[in-house]
Amino acid sequence: LLNWRKISFSALGTGSMWQLVTKAEALQPVSAIRRDPVACPLSSLLTARSLRPALQENLDKKLFGQHLVNKVVVKAVKGFLNNTNAKKPLALSLHGWTGTGKNFVGRIVAESIYKRGLRSKYVHQFVATLHFPHAHSINLYKDQLQSWIRGNVSICPRSLFIFDEMDKMHAGLIDSIKPFLDYYELLDGVSYRQAIFIFLSNAGAEKITEVALDFWRNGRTREDIQLTDIQNALSVSVFNNKNSGFWHSTLIDRNLIDYFVPFLPLEYKHVKMCVKVEIESRGYAVDEDILTRIANEMTYFPREERIYSDKGCKTVDAKLDYYF
């Protein structure tokens, strides 16, 4: 499947680097693997204005119940892309309940920057349980991960790395990429200041829900919840959580994460919106009755108030299949 291929860039004086390539690519001479000028966005050409398609629009239309996310992600990404003097790569940490849209946002961001979205050559997704499954191989993973990042950013500075299931990542593995997230101008001749890192995790979900529930119980609207209400509590709870991929990580110590983005648990009305969008995407007419029935089939917590969907919007697809 994939081979490690050593590339020596002695002309640049940067020594050698390893690149993960497909078998076909491994057989090609090194010079053939160069940056695809169309697929790898040049910072001079890509400005926030040309974000394709409109990031804000997509989030407004397709992400439900996450007023905080809409605000932060757009500003963060736009601000970063517009900043020609960025001193460190953009690092977003998305936290929250399952099925609330974290992976979705990662996809939307990818689609707004890269022509082929998640399928772009310069977008890399790591799933902890898939790519780093064995605790005893952690040293191997560290080496591979560092090489992968180094190799790809040197080819395309505006690369996007998405790390999923951070809460399952071995504590310390993520530490191995810390230097790339830092404020260094160059590391072994490579600049990481244009790269984007997105971390997805369930860690902190309870804390976020606590805040949301608090608001609800005090009769305050969901949209009143401010980022500050959640942010500080979140960074501490994630840091101290032994199950978090960030536990004791110097990422938080050194403030290498630029934005903690909280995802609130979804309410009944949001679940209905998910169902509606799914029906529309399948090309069927929207029947209010079905929306209600499917939303009712989901389970909600806490036990007494039953406000938030246990699975967010997950399993909605399967339930719809049953109806059509």
Binding site: G79, D175, P179, Y183, Y184, D188
Partner: protein, 275 residues
């Protein structure tokens, strides 16, 4: 060239009058001599975001003429990246020695910056001990013109403690006695398990010429950082915004709220969120 470094440091680095003073003194002493008896070894200590890495990069930028590719003479080591596995420490020691020997023989005025010293395995840094001492030459290579800089977070808490003490006794930040701070630092680092210098011979044998403390940043310094960031990103310098962000960042101790526990880090993202 010294004047240029001084100007750059004074202009770009906020709140580190002490550190700048010592750095300039160290550099001028070393660069004035035609053949220094030992390489210049400086160890920077302080909280995150206070300017340690920044100062070392300003030194690097000004030490070499513009048209010479700097990367040939400035060597930046990231512990996490270059020395990741404890089990390979023997390999790293050898590689490090070779790297230093090779590069200093090619260019006597080489600059070596060791970042993330707190993560360095104990004992590794001792492998370069021979190069830092008072030798005419070692195996035909002269090291006296080389410069070594170590960047540490360890010791930062101690520095902040002292700074806070001074503030509470209503004394000026500018009056903090350097010598006392420096000797306290070297003791602290030697004893600190979370330091690459734990029980290091470099300290025992006094091979580090200067311990340089980076003080925690106060509200007024954070303001300067915010203003600079707004300027750099091409935004208007909104005084209210500057005050708001600087105030939010000044969080330590939780009561007096004198210093920013993150130094000037997170300024860029806060600015982006507020625009």
């Amino acid at each position: 060239r010294q004047a240029v470094i001084k100007m750059d440091l004074d202009r770009k680095v906020f709140g580190q009058h002490l550190a700048i003073q010592i750095v300039l003194r160290a550099l001028s002493a070393n660069m004035r001599s035609k053949r220094p008896r030992k390489p210049l070894v400086m160890s920077f200590h302080g909280w995150t975001g206070t300017g340690k890495s920044f100062v070392s990069s300003i030194i690097a930028e000004n030490l070499y003429r513009l048209n010479i590719p700097r990367r040939k003479f400035v060597h930046h080591f990231s512990t996490v990246l270059h020395f990741p596995h404890l089990s390979h420490i023997h390999l790293y020691k050898e590689q490090l020695q070779n790297w230093i020997r090779g590069n200093v023989s090619a260019c006597p005025r080489s600059l070596f910056i060791f970042a993330e010293m707190d993560q360095m395995p104990h004992g590794l840094i001792d492998s370069i001990m021979p190069f830092l001492g008072y030798h005419e030459e070692i195996d035909g290579v002269y090291y006296g013109k080389a410069i070594f800089i170590f960047l540490n977070n360890a010791g930062g808490d101690k520095i902040t403690e002292i700074a806070l003490d001074y503030w509470r006794s209503l004394k000026r930040r500018e009056d903090i006695p350097v010598k006392k701070l420096q000797s306290l630092l070297s003791e602290e680092i030697f004893r600190n398990r979370n330091s690459g210098f734990f029980h290091s011979q470099l300290i025992q044998k006094n091979l580090i010429d200067y311990f340089i403390p980076f003080l925690p940043l106060e509200y007024k310094h954070v303001r300067q950082c915010v203003r600079e960031e707004l300027r750099m990103q091409g935004h208007p310098e909104d005084e209210d915004l500057i005050a708001e962000i600087a105030l939010a960042m000044t969080d330590y101790p939780s009561e007096e709220r004198l210093y920013s526990s993150k130094g000037c880090k997170t300024v860029a993202s806060r600015v982006a969120l507020s625009i």
